[in-house]
Amino acid sequence: MSDYLIQFNNISKFFGKVIALKNVTMKLKKGEIMCLLGDNGAGKSTLIKTLAGVYKPDEGEIVIEGEKIIFDGPKDALDMGIATVYQDLALVSLMSVTRNFFMGREPLKGLPFFKTFDLEKANKIAAERMGQIGIDIRDPSQAVGTMSGGERQCLAISRAIYFGAKVLVLDEPTSALGVHQASVVLKYIVKAASQGLAVILITHNVHHAYPVGNSFTVLNRGKSLGTYNKKDISREKLLSMMAGGEELDKLEVELQEIDRQAN
């Protein structure tokens, strides 16, 4: 049971009459990367916000290290070590790498009432952390705006890890990136997992998910189409499941029909 770091059992979420999520189950072990795949409107955003503690699930339970947990807000989830990196990354491009890295959680020094932001320590840690990823920042006081998209993504992930994430929830980390940048980010995600984090990678890009994932959960219209280990499923099968393969097959038949009638 507590073999799993985190479990989401039969999670459902309703908005009025709309069923946003129905009986979604996911289980992750330490060091595992689970890819959550789904097309637009599949319920990915709702699921992310449920994981992050923004929404409370209407049904089902969240179990962390064998203990049943109810999140009262995003801070609760964060305190339990579930860190969500949203698509906007929560980075301010006009601010320096260091100031972004410690935004909202600045290290302090000095006497009470005169506590100052310990920039020296912050610069050192930020530079160290970015160096570990292999990102060459010339100066931790340079603006984040000067970094590439991939570097920013890595900065946001690195920040989440530094502040004690056990489970990383990544929302479309590669969607805005070119092939090279995406591969840098994916490599970093694998590295993070190998250090014992559980990673939930949310994406609609099977080509990015397949090489790094250990297991794959496909969402369609709020329902889970099942979780598959990598050895049990091929990239093509995943792709067709995601796109609603049956529906496309049906469409093809119908199109042929129209074609024939026209002739």
């Binding site: 906007d88 990354l89 301010v92 006009l94 100052t116 570990q132 010339r138 970094m147």
Partner: protein, 375 residues
């Protein structure tokens, strides 16, 4: 020594000292938002040094004059800059100045309050107005431009209506006699470092009156407040956690909120700051003139914003500096006074003010692109 050998051993490992040396001091300077205003201030001084060097503008008396004007503007410009970095505007600064003035004068003259109590009352009202402005902006999500524009009219109207209702006039004189022996008023009404000027006078280094006392008697309170606020604001912005939150709230409020910055609280605090700064401005002026006027502070909000913009603040928030706004205020103060010492008609001052702002905005825009462009 050890750091050096380490960096040679592993080229991949990041070595801070090594990297920092690669950034040239000039580039570091170029990345500072106050650069433009500093350069502008130097240019202005050189210009008047050449044009008006022998007119008495740069005598002790003349300098105190234009620094007094600069400092008054600077007090509100610094607060406006902090708020702009936090991503908001306050157009009610000028009206707040008028309002604070009568909050001091009416209780002191008509209700018989001691002056110090009236001053405390004015500052309490400032906190309330600032809090209300901030709360409205944060809770409704409306642009602060609109909310505080409404407050500009409300406060100015209320100032006029209340004053006329109670006094039957638009001016409340008679404050000067109350300053003496007041436990607080001296903070806003005392010239300091008088002995320096007496000494300079005795050495015949500055101009004297016919009775032998120096023409310039001391540093006016506005200048002391201005320097104090410039240092305090810069320290808060650059060295404290709250400063980082100000940049974050202005740069990207959703992002900041997601990582735990209390954006609402930060913004409300900044609105209170501008209202309190307006009240400092008002107290100094009211005690100096000995009277409150309902029209005091008109258009000051725009001058404050202009000084902040010249000082490197972006209108979109998240970038700027308090020192920059201070230099912006010095530029405006120096030119507005200096123009009297030249042959130029003073009517041209506003033209200069506008042109200066345009150049600053274009320059700042260019700098921002440079700072944020990907490499």
């Amino acid at each position: 020594m050890s750091t050096k050998s380490k960096s040679i051993q592993s080229k991949n490992s990041f070595n801070q000292d090594d990297r920092l040396k690669k950034v040239s001091p000039i580039r570091m300077l170029l990345n500072r938002p106050e650069l433009g205003a500093l350069g502008g201030a130097i240019l202005v001084f050189i210009f008047f040094g050449i044009v008006a060097g022998d007119t008495g503008m740069f005598s002790a008396y003349g300098m105190l004059n234009f620094f007094d004007v600069s400092a008054n503007l600077g007090i509100i410009a610094i607060a406006a800059a902090l708020l702009m970095i936090g991503g908001e505007f306050d157009l009610s600064i000028g009206s707040m100045i008028g309002f604070a003035g009568i909050c001091i004068a009416i209780p002191a003259i008509y209700w018989g309050w001691p002056l110090w109590m009236s001053i405390v009352f004015a500052f309490s009202m400032a906190v309330l107005v600032g809090y209300f402005n901030g709360l409205l902006v944060v809770k409704t999500g409306l642009p602060s431009f609109i909310v505080t524009l409404a407050m500009l009219f409300i406060l100015r109207g209320a100032t006029l209506a209340i004053t006329r209702l109670i006094t039957g006039r638009t001016q409340v004189p008679g404050l000067r006699v109350l300053i003496e022996n007041d436990p607080i008023a001296w903070l806003f009404a005392t010239d300091t470092f008088k002995w320096v000027f007496v000494w300079l006078g005795s050495m015949n280094l500055i101009d004297l009156r016919t009775d032998g006392t120096p023409l310039a008697t001391g540093i006016p309170p506005s200048v002391i407040w201005f320097i104090f606020l410039a240092i305090l604001s810069t320290w808060v912005l650059m060295k404290t956690r709250y400063g980082n939150w100000i940049f974050a709230s202005g740069g990207d409020k959703n992002g900041a909120r997601n990582v735990g910055v209390p954006v609402g609280r930060v913004k409300i605090g900044l609105f209170i700051t501008t209202a309190v700064a307006s009240t400092i401005f008002a107290t100094i002026q009211v005690l100096d003139a000995g009277s409150a006027d309902t029209m005091r502070g008109s258009l000051k909000e725009l001058e404050a914003i202009a000084a902040a913009v010249v000082g490197g603040c972006l209108l979109t928030g998240g970038y700027g500096s308090a020192i920059g706004a201070a230099f912006g205020a010095i530029i405006f103060g120096t030119v507005s006074m200096g123009i009297f010492y030249t042959d130029v008609d003073t009517d041209w001052f506003k033209v200069f003010l506008g042109a200066m702002m345009l150049i600053a905005v274009i320059f700042n825009n260019y700098i921002r692109k440079k700072v944020t462009e990907s490499k």
